[in-house]
């Protein structure tokens, strides 16, 4: 079984539109949405949810005011400034439990947190494993790990040979969790200076974790000079630019109709996305 993850560093470069199109082109592959902070793939694939699971992760401290003698030890020891005036700010608490262990009055309890949900769904293009982290929650990396683990076991169960993963923006914990152990990363960028800067950093992460990467420059005609710059530095990094897609409103129009862009656009954009997919498949070997 192979796994390709679509990342970008910078957000909003077109990851999800491309993944939905790949789902339609390839058909019958396992789909995973690992952008658990802002999962959007389901908006294009209209999934029927078959299974909903709770994601319990991490703990938060709570002080029993009745037992607290306001000795202040917990406040002094908390490295996250999460305890003020003998109250825990659950948004700041990282659940380490040091306060709970040291409180001489045993006035502090640790409570489990329901941090989100994950789902197994059916789409016209194949099964989809996706998730939603609760607002302002921690542990997005762990939820990503849960999604990937279930995507793998489901692919195995159903005899599917490929997992197509929509990844999160950035380079931090959920990105690392989406990337580690994947067979190939497709990095979607745009020819803006910020896109280039962000691409360099996410390429660095791919190198760090030893995952080979190929690059797609979306909206390349916004700035063709920058697009050429991307091609030359990708060569230095050993990552090939396998596709350049022009700026086109059909992406937004398809999105408004909630269909993958390859099913909506009759023009060259669809053909280019198909070529891109062929290149990804060839790289996966």
């Amino acid at each position: 079984m192979r796994e390709v993850v679509v990342l970008s560093g910078k957000g909003g470069t077109g990851k999800t539109s491309l993944v939905a199109s790949f789902a339609a082109i390839a058909g019958g592959k396992l789909l995973a949405d690992c952008d658990v902070d802002a999962p959007d793939l389901h908006l294009l694939l209209s999934p029927a949810i078959e299974e909903e699971n709770e994601f319990w992760s991490g703990r938060v401290a709570a002080i029993d005011a009745g037992k607290c003698t306001e000795c202040g030890l917990c406040q002094d020891l908390c490295r996250f400034d999460a305890i003020k005036e003998f109250k825990v700010d659950p948004m700041s608490c990282e659940g380490c439990g040091l306060c709970y262990r040291v409180c001489p009055e045993e006035a502090i309890a640790m409570r489990d947190c329901l941090s989100g949900h994950w789902f197994v769904s059916r789409t016209r293009y194949g099964p989809l494993v996706h998730a939603k982290l609760g607002a302002a929650e921690e542990n997005s990396g762990r939820l990503v790990a849960v999604v990937r683990q279930h995507a793998r076991s489901l692919a195995e169960e159903e005899g599917l040979d490929l997992i197509i993963t929509d990844g999160p923006p950035g380079i931090g914990c959920p990105v690392i969790s989406s990337l580690s152990g994947a067979d190939l990363a497709l990095l979607v960028t745009e020819p803006t200076l910020s896109g280039i800067h962000d691409l360099e950093r996410v390429l660095g992460v791919c190198n760090h974790f030893g995952v080979p990467a190929v690059v797609c420059v979306n909206k390349y005609d916004i700035n063709e000079q920058n697009a050429r710059r991307i091609e030359s530095f990708c060569t230095d990094f050993g990552a090939e630019v396998v596709s350049k897609i022009p700026m086109d409103n059909v992406f937004t129009e398809a999105l408004v109709r909630r269909v993958p862009v390859v099913e909506y656009a009759g023009n060259g954009v669809s053909a280019e996305i198909r070529r891109l997919w062929d290149a990804v498949v060839a790289k996966l070997g």
Partner: protein
């Protein structure tokens, strides 16, 4: 006044809005780029960096001579960052949050802490703007210590603009916490709407007043406007879908520099925010 610029969805124009807000004000303004995974404000401000500080997490270091292999350290670690084996102790520094529980609780005093760099904070200036940014080191997972360190530079005397990473989880909360107002930048599409609704959940939970900037108006649908009307969230600024804006952006030129007629609109936006913050303080 602290104004943070956030959005659930990435690529909606946070950086464009944050840099243009700061550049419109010109002075008595601080711009802090808290998108430490992918900080891009510097591309548009080209700041002179005057100081650089390392951001470290305190990770345990075990003195094997004192260790009796009682296993308490690994039992108390909530992050599985330390594992006590029969004859040695393994530390996984990249999992460690630096809470200090293992070193504080070790009955033999066998655990000390060593600083491990996870990122840097850089401060400087650009024109009259005081600039700061955090950069998470490539390969590191935890942005929050970098954000926390950067936010220590906040000077609430003037106007502080905070550029936030996309999403709705811990780095976003760490960045917008303590703000007087949060601008949510989105686009008029189903993705923009879905992710906006999640971002609204976050700011409501933190009890921070908010308003929307709707970017790339032209193609798309009316879902965001309908949602904002139903939720009583003001749309404070709309920016059209315009190839010129995208081209200037691609070259690293801020909107208000490329098209100076926008400066007045951003100043007006800030005045409206100021008014809303004042009204709220009175209530």
């Amino acid at each position: 006044m602290i104004v943070s610029v956030a959005s659930g969805k990435g690529g909606t124009g946070k950086t464009l809005v944050a840099t243009s807000l700061a550049l419109s004000l010109e002075r008595k303004v601080q711009l802090l780029d808290c998108d430490v995974e992918e900080p891009d404000d510097h591309v548009f401000l080209r700041p002179v960096i005057a100081a650089r500080e390392s951001v470290c997490v305190a990770v345990p270091s075990v003195d094997e001579d004192k260790c009796t292999h009682c296993g308490l350290c690994s039992e108390v670690c909530a992050y599985h960052a330390i594992a006590a084996l029969k004859s040695s102790v393994l530390v996984f520094p990249e999992l460690c949050h630096g809470c200090g529980a293992c070193s504080y609780l070790c009955p033999e005093g066998a655990i000390s802490e060593v600083a491990r760099e996870v990122g840097v904070v850089e401060t400087g200036f650009s024109y009259g703007i005081r600039f700061g940014q955090g950069r998470l080191n490539v390969g590191e997972a935890m942005p929050t210590p970098v954000i926390r360190k950067l936010k220590q530079h906040i000077d609430p005397e003037g106007t502080v603009v905070i550029d936030v990473s996309p999403g709705t989880s811990c780095p976003v909360v760490e960045s917008i916490k303590g703000s007087d107002f949060c601008l949510l930048v989105t686009e008029p599409t189903p993705f923009g709407l879905y992710d906006l609704a999640m971002a609204v959940d976050v700011v409501r939970r933190l009890e921070i007043p908010s308003g929307v900037v709707l970017n790339r108006v032209g193609v798309g649908d009316t879902g965001v406007e309908e949602y904002c009307a139903s939720q009583n969230i003001p749309i404070l600024l709309t920016i059209p879908l315009d190839a010129r804006i995208a081209q200037h952006y691609s070259r690293g030129i801020a909107l208000v520099e490329a098209l100076p007629e926008w400066r007045g609109r951003f100043l007006e936006l800030l005045e409206r925010i100021r008014g809303m913050v004042r009204d709220r303080a009175r209530r």
